[in-house]
């Protein structure tokens, strides 16, 4: 037991250190927990997607993708034009997704091509590439827009007609465009998608005569219709009409879902498959944990927080979606190929994999996801700092990932999520803590930037050190 604890701490020393740091900083800052939690959940929704976009290149052995700046740039190019053309709300958001994705695809492809020329030094190349792309981006936004491409807008262009203003206010057009999509709208959208897909599938099966049973599709269609009809019941409709979900309800739903999942696992393995090997200890334990967690929501301080924080449902669903995508990718052949390439390019090459192509795909995926992440960030923060919004993207996303215990070689959804929580907690409370401790808020601000740089430096150094030790150990053996 004692060994276990020691092992756990030594394996998760980064996380443990930052948990301690966060608790200390929260305590010192004297900020109320409701404020910290509220701020944290906002920041999680805002930045979470971007951090999760980093996982795929790590899997493919390309290290931490400092080139996500380029994805962010693709997003910002689209956002500028969407605002210029005057689109608003969720239509504007979807259009900017539609417009930025091809740009990000192209950029990602080019970055992948470039990285294939610099295998082994992708990280430094990504860093430098980020700055380089920033230069081109500035050239485009300061001189080409208005200078070469005629753009007439007092709101967006510097007086004089050339170059885009420093900040673009997104209030009234894209601000909260994704966050405010209500659950009702979501259900509706999913319903239409489900119906379309199912009808297409049925027609396809009929025409192709694949003998696939229609009954199953009809049942699913029936369920979809029932769910949709349910939303017309006034009580449910009123609940779903909101775009924010009280954290308390979110936790409750999550726990109920967890319990149901575990029960399904037990039933599936014991009753349906009759698998005697299957141990029900783990699901039972998880159910108990869920019960305890639910009980904890009645503790007063926790309840206060849970009743205080509202989360934007759609944005969080997007984050769940990307986690799910990262997980599913691992189960596909492409994901497995990426892992092989990540472990050893030589082996992958010998196994007949097209290493260069797989690496390019990884970069394209990461760039596109980063681009979407930046769109989510911009719509939430509500002001578009034309020349600043993308510059620190790589730094903060990578630092957050590393704080969660990830490394250059291995990064999981779990680490990313823990990392975002810890890093942004520190980010929220550091200035106030600095003010309380040293009577200087600026010190706290510098401290959090130092943490971001420092954690990356240490992590890169540890990685290099480990890879250096391995060959010398082999030589001895």
């Amino acid at each position: 037991m004692k060994d276990n604890i020691v092992n756990f701490i030594s394996e998760n020393k980064v996380v443990v250190l930052f948990v301690a740091l966060c608790i200390g900083a929260i305590y010192v800052s004297g900020n109320p927990l409701t404020f910290v939690a509220g701020e944290l959940f906002t920041r999680f929704g805002r930045n979470g997607f971007m951090v999760l976009a980093l996982l795929i290149p790590v899997l493919a052995g390309m290290g931490l993708n400092f080139g996500i700046t380029i994805g962010a740039i693709a997003a910002q190019i689209a956002v500028f034009w969407i605002i210029y053309w005057g689109f608003e709300g969720i239509q504007g958001f979807l259009l900017s997704v539609l417009m930025s994705t091809p740009i990000a695809l192209l950029f990602g492809y080019l970055v992948g091509k470039l990285f294939n020329k610099m295998k082994g030094s992708e990280m430094i190349a990504g860093m430098v590439l980020g700055y380089f792309a920033d230069g081109l981006y500035q050239l485009f936004f300061l001189y080409v827009i208005g200078g070469i491409i005629p753009v007439y807008s007092d709101r967006l262009i510097i007086p004089g007609g050339i170059g885009v203003k420093n900040t673009i206010d997104l209030t009234g057009n894209l601000k909260y465009s994704l966050d405010t999509v209500s659950m009702l709208q979501l259900v509706e959208i999913f319903f239409y998608i489900a119906v379309a897909v199912l009808i297409f599938k049925m027609v396809f099966n009929k025409v192709k005569k694949t003998n696939s049973s229609i009954a199953k599709d009809l049942i699913i269609l029936g369920i979809a219709i029932v769910v949709y009809v349910l939303t017309f019941i006034p009580a449910i409709e009123a609940f779903l009409a909101s775009d924010r979900l009280l954290l308390l309800y979110a936790v409750t739903i999550g726990l109920v879902f967890m319990v149901l999942l575990q029960i399904w696992r037990i039933v599936n393995n014991k009753v349906i498959k009759k698998d005697n090997e299957y141990s029900i200890k783990k699901p039972i334990a998880l159910i108990i944990v869920a019960g305890i967690l639910y009980a904890m929501t009645y503790i007063k301080p926790i309840e206060v927080i849970l009743m205080y924080v509202n989360i934007p449902v759609t944005t969080y669903l997007c984050i769940v979606g990307i986690c799910f995508f990262n997980n599913m990718l691992l189960r596909t052949r492409l994901g497995q190929n990426m892992r092989t390439v990540g472990q050893s390019r030589v082996v992958a090459n010998a196994a007949g994999l097209d290493v260069d192509r797989i690496r390019i795909i990884a970069m394209v995926l990461s760039t596109v996801l980063a681009c979407w992440g930046q769109l989510i960030y911009l719509q939430n923060i509500g002001t578009f700092a034309t020349y600043g919004a993308h510059t620190q993207v790589g730094l903060f996303a990578i630092a957050a990932l590393l704080v969660g215990g990830a490394s250059v070689k291995k990064a999981t959804n779990k680490q990313a999520i823990i990392g975002i929580i810890l890093f942004h907690t520190l980010f929220t409370v550091a200035p106030q803590a600095g003010k309380q401790l040293f009577n200087n808020a600026q010190l706290g601000e510098y401290f959090r930037v130092f943490v971001a740089y420092g954690v990356i430096a240490v992590s890169l150094a540890m990685h290099a050190w480990k890879t250096n030790i391995k060959p010398s150990v082999k030589q001895k053996a």
Binding site: K117, Q138, I162, N440, F450, A452, I456, H463, A464
Partner: protein, 353 residues
Amino acid sequence: MREKIGNIYNNIGLPRIIITSFFIFLLVISVPLGLNILNLLGDSIRRWAMYGILVLAMVPAVQCGIGLNFGISLGIVAGLLGATLSIELGISNPWLGMLFASAVGILLGGLLGVFYGFMLNKLKGSEMTVSTYVGFSVIAFMNMIWLALPFKNGNLVWPISEQGMRNTISLEGSFGLILNKLWSFSIGNPATGLFVPTGLILFFLAVCFIVYLFMRSKVGMAMSAAGENPEFTRASGINVDKMRIIGTAVSTALAALGIITYAQSYGFLQLYNAPLMMGFHSVAAVLIGGASVGRAKISHVILGAFLFQGILTVALPVANKILPEGNLSDVLRLIISNGIILYALSKTKGGNK
């Protein structure tokens, strides 16, 4: 013949050809635009000598095998510490002040460089990636230190709160511009003509010469050998790790001297985030001069610093004539410096499986 031209082309490299022709183009275009070309050249020369030593700091680093040293920020903060200390102590004689600042900076930089070298010896093969972020971290760390240092001199600290150092500190009462003014003269009208800061140029060239002598010395030769072929050098009985530490320490110490020279020529000390990207600029300059990740000579430094600073100096007024707003010079600096670094990186690790 064709092969020969191809060889020359490969040696010089496309980016360098573009940059040199761009520089010449800028100079040529500045005449019809009605700019004062003598003045521009004077500015270029001043900035060349002003940045030169920072660029020179790359030579020992590249030669000893740690690659492009993005971590010269370490030396830069050492130099800044020396300079602030010299002001805090109130050394009013400019020569003594500069001497003191340089001595503290070089010593501190050398010391930090030794530790840094130890660290880099454990990280062979990824020095550049790590050193970039070590450089950033040091600057971020020093941001806190600048705020917290208990300096009292009114020239250093914020006037009202009396806590924490100012962003820019004037060197007027200290060693500002002393090298620039030494033996300086103007060609033509003093206000618009070509101003030659003789002292600064001589100082820069003298430091170049000292480094040249050092690189030619026994230690310097051993160091270059260690960088070029570590296995072979080890076999011939030279301690490669020690050579790398010496190279890193010299590079860091030079960076400390470099920032002091820079500051005296600029007339101000810039603290906090100002030196964040200086490592990148020095790296870019030496690469423009013809260096690669594995090899850098003094001539690369002299040529590269001139081309890089020259373009930035000339581009600004030219751009302002064509486009009245904006700061094209900064944008150009971003594109040129990072473009050339990317190019150099792609040349070294070209497509290995």
